[in-house]
């Protein structure tokens, strides 16, 4: 796997402007996605996952949501202030997106064929017939039977799983370098979920498409992702590769998330849950945002905002004072090692 980042997000800050003033939904987050990599972005509802993806696509609700700081680099090109013309070229062709609700994400009044062909013809010079052939080819590729007939059918004639396949086919039609999948399996049955995840893994492997998988389901992450970013209340609280995060999670929030996955082998009277709710965006201005729900929280957590500390393992970072010492110790160790040589 090559190591060129397709997408780099640096210090991205996105705010919503409401009657009550500015509400930061995403607060200075940094992450990257390499070519052909599947990055999971995990967090509870309202933590800023979807806002991050809409910021990348330039599709924040006009006049309400706005990127107020930071940079988004797509293949090295800054796209935060890119012209609408450039963004139209990027959307669909370079970065494609699929959504949570396959039931409502397709226009009910146009046939699947119409919507597929449209996606193809925006970005290529194919004539209608070629575009139709390409659409049928894509529908077959995502595993839809009777692709030809589906072209003439309307969304309401298809099941949720089939619609999500259509969405994926439509997103992949221009061979994008990055696919943003915003909770693509949340609204589907478990068996269909597994099929869709397998499909996405296959596409990632066969076409080397990088995928940004937004989800609140750690099962999905374990199944498909290479690396994970855990978000909490607009901030990244932990990041690392999948094995590290699952084997040795460091942030109390991540630990809580992993503990709340039901385990079929153990019979527990009650499933673990993290006490409390995600704070309203913008309500915590001081200290760690998780402090109020954290059983390890101490005085400092409520006063200062912790940085993102490295744990010593490759690429594993955590935003928690409990692990600050670890970073310092690592630095000391490296310095000491340096002195010895």
């Amino acid at each position: 796997m090559s190591k060129h980042p397709v997408l780099e997000v640096k210090g991205l800050k996105t705010s919503f402007f409401t009657d009550d003033g500015e509400v930061p939904a995403v607060d200075e987050i940094d992450f990257y996605i390499n070519e052909g990599e599947i990055l999971g972005i995990v967090g509870e509802s309202g933590c800023g996952k979807s806002v991050t993806s809409l910021s990348i696509m330039g599709l924040l609700p006009k006049g309400i949501g706005k990127i107020v700081g930071g940079e988004i680099l797509f293949k090295g090109e800054s796209i935060v202030n890119a012209s609408e013309k450039r963004m139209k070229e990027i959307r669909g062709k370079e970065i494609a997106m699929i959504f949570q609700e396959p039931m409502t994400s397709l226009n009910p009044l146009f046939t699947i064929g119409n919507q597929m062909v449209e996606a193809i013809r925006i970005h290529s010079k194919m004539n209608k017939k070629q575009a139709q052939e390409r659409a049928i080819e894509m529908l077959k590729l995502v595993g839809l039977p009777r692709a030809k007939e589906i072209m003439n059918e309307y969304p309401h004639q298809l099941s949720g799983g089939m619609r999500q396949r259509v969405m994926i086919a439509m997103a992949m039609v221009c061979n994008p370098s990055l696919l943003i999948a915003d909770e693509p399996t949340t609204a589907l049955d478990v068996t269909i979920q597994a099929q869709i995840l397998k499909l996405m893994k296959d596409l990632n492997k066969n076409f080397n498409t990088a995928i940004m998988m937004i989800t609140h389901d750690l099962g999905v992450v374990a199944e498909v992702c290479h690396r994970v970013v855990v978000m909490y209340s607009g901030k990244i609280v932990e990041e690392g590769d999948v094995c590290t995060i699952f084997k040795s999670p460091k942030h109390p929030y991540t630990i809580g998330l992993i503990q709340s996955i039901p385990d079929i082998r153990e019979k527990k009277a009650r499933l673990y849950s993290i006490p409390g709710n995600v704070p309203k965006p913008g309500s915590i201005r001081q200290g760690c945002r998780f402090a109020a729900r954290c059983e390890h929280a101490f005085e400092r957590c409520f006063k200062e905002n912790p940085g993102l500390y490295e744990t010593g393992e490759q690429g594993h970072k955590v935003r928690c004072f409990l692990h600050q010492r670890e970073e310092e110790m690592n630095v000391e160790r490296t310095v000491a090692a340096g002195e010895r040589t």
Partner: protein, 334 residues
């Protein structure tokens, strides 16, 4: 689609029957003998009896109703008491005049109203949105007779741009074929008359268009705003479609259904409610025809006039229902 259409068309039959019953009993609901009412207090007993017999009022009501229904089915609307002429023949020129006027008004209302609504929704909370919606509010609350008089005063009397009233130039009358003058003059290839007819049409149709235009603009705006929030619009944007296509292809078609409903209802109201406009602009339409018949207590004419207007109203709404199915593929299956 076909099965739905057939079903929907058949559903009109009971509605039409019900309407004919209501219209039939409306005239019978007048206290006393209608013949007496028509002829007045000073009429002789013989005259009243003669008219009662002529109107068939001396027969049992079910006989009267089936005779009346039979007449309707063969296209016979009865005779006018005032002129003695067949109403079926008499009514068409008036109806044509109203159709021409209200279709012109509806065209103006739809073209301006729908586009104003779309642009207002697209640029929500912009100055265009504010101005358009304030104008729409004024439009809805504007008394038509006042607007008509103002139009005449400004454009006909002061600026002398357009004729004050009537349907055609008095010194250059149109030879009717279909009685829809725009079509007649075109058929005859008479450009000069076509322009004259068009000029006569401008002021009344603008006056008549105001209220529907305002309502259509407001409905289009709110319906578009609703649609533009939906997931499939986000999908369309994520595909890289331009805002123009997103608005005019993906949003407009979905926003059309409530707008169509309003257009259907407003069209019906225009047909029946054009009376004020027709009076102000001396437009020889069906509103005026019925209004005059009321003055002469010409009951068969009133009855037929109401029947014709109501039938057109029902047919327009049938058309709207069929259009729903043509636009929304989900409707056929429900």
């Amino acid at each position: 689609m076909f099965a739905y259409s057939i079903r929907r068309i058949f559903m009109v039959i009971p509605v039409l029957l019900g309407m004919s019953i209501i219209v039939f009993f409306m005239i019978r609901a007048i206290p006393g003998n209608p013949a007496q009412v028509i002829l007045g207090q000073k009429a002789t007993k013989e005259a009243v009896e003669a008219l009662t017999h002529k109107l068939g009022l001396d027969q049992p009501w079910y006989v009267q109703y089936f005779k009346y229904l039979g007449g309707l089915l063969t296209g016979d609307l009865g005779e006018s008491i005032r002129t003695g002429a067949s109403i079926t023949e008499e009514i068409w020129p008036y109806l044509a005049a109203t159709l021409e006027l209200s279709l012109a008004a509806m065209l103006i209302a739809i073209v301006i109203g729908v586009n104003a609504g779309i642009i207002s929704a697209w640029f929500q909370n912009s100055w265009f949105d504010y101005v358009a919606m304030v104008l729409a509010l004024i439009g809805v609350s504007m008394p038509i007779f006042w607007l008509g008089l103002m139009e005449q005063w400004i454009f006909a009397i002061n600026l002398d741009l357009l004729p004050t009233s009537g349907r055609e130039e008095v010194r250059n009358p149109v030879t009717p074929i279909t009685h829809l003058y725009l079509i007649d003059t075109l058929l005859q290839g008479n450009t000069e008359q076509f322009v004259q007819v068009l000029q006569h049409l401008v002021l009344p149709s603008v006056a008549l268009a105001t209220i529907p235009m305002a309502i259509i603009a407001r409905i289009t705006r709110s319906s578009m705003l609703e649609v533009m929030k939906s997931d499939y619009i986000r999908t369309a944007r994520a595909k890289g479609l331009s805002m123009f296509w997103v608005v005019y292809k993906h949003s407009l078609k979905n926003a059309t259904i409530p707008v169509l409903t309003v257009i259907g209802l407003q069209m019906g109201l225009l047909l029946g409610g054009a009376i004020l406009t027709e009076t102000i602009f001396s437009w020889p339409g069906i509103g005026r025809y019925i209004y005059e018949a009321i003055g002469y207590r010409d009951y068969p004419v009133i009855q037929s006039g109401i029947l014709v207007v109501a039938t057109i109203f029902i047919l327009i709404n049938l058309l709207v229902d069929l259009l729903y199915a043509a636009i929304d593929p989900r409707i056929k299956y429900n």
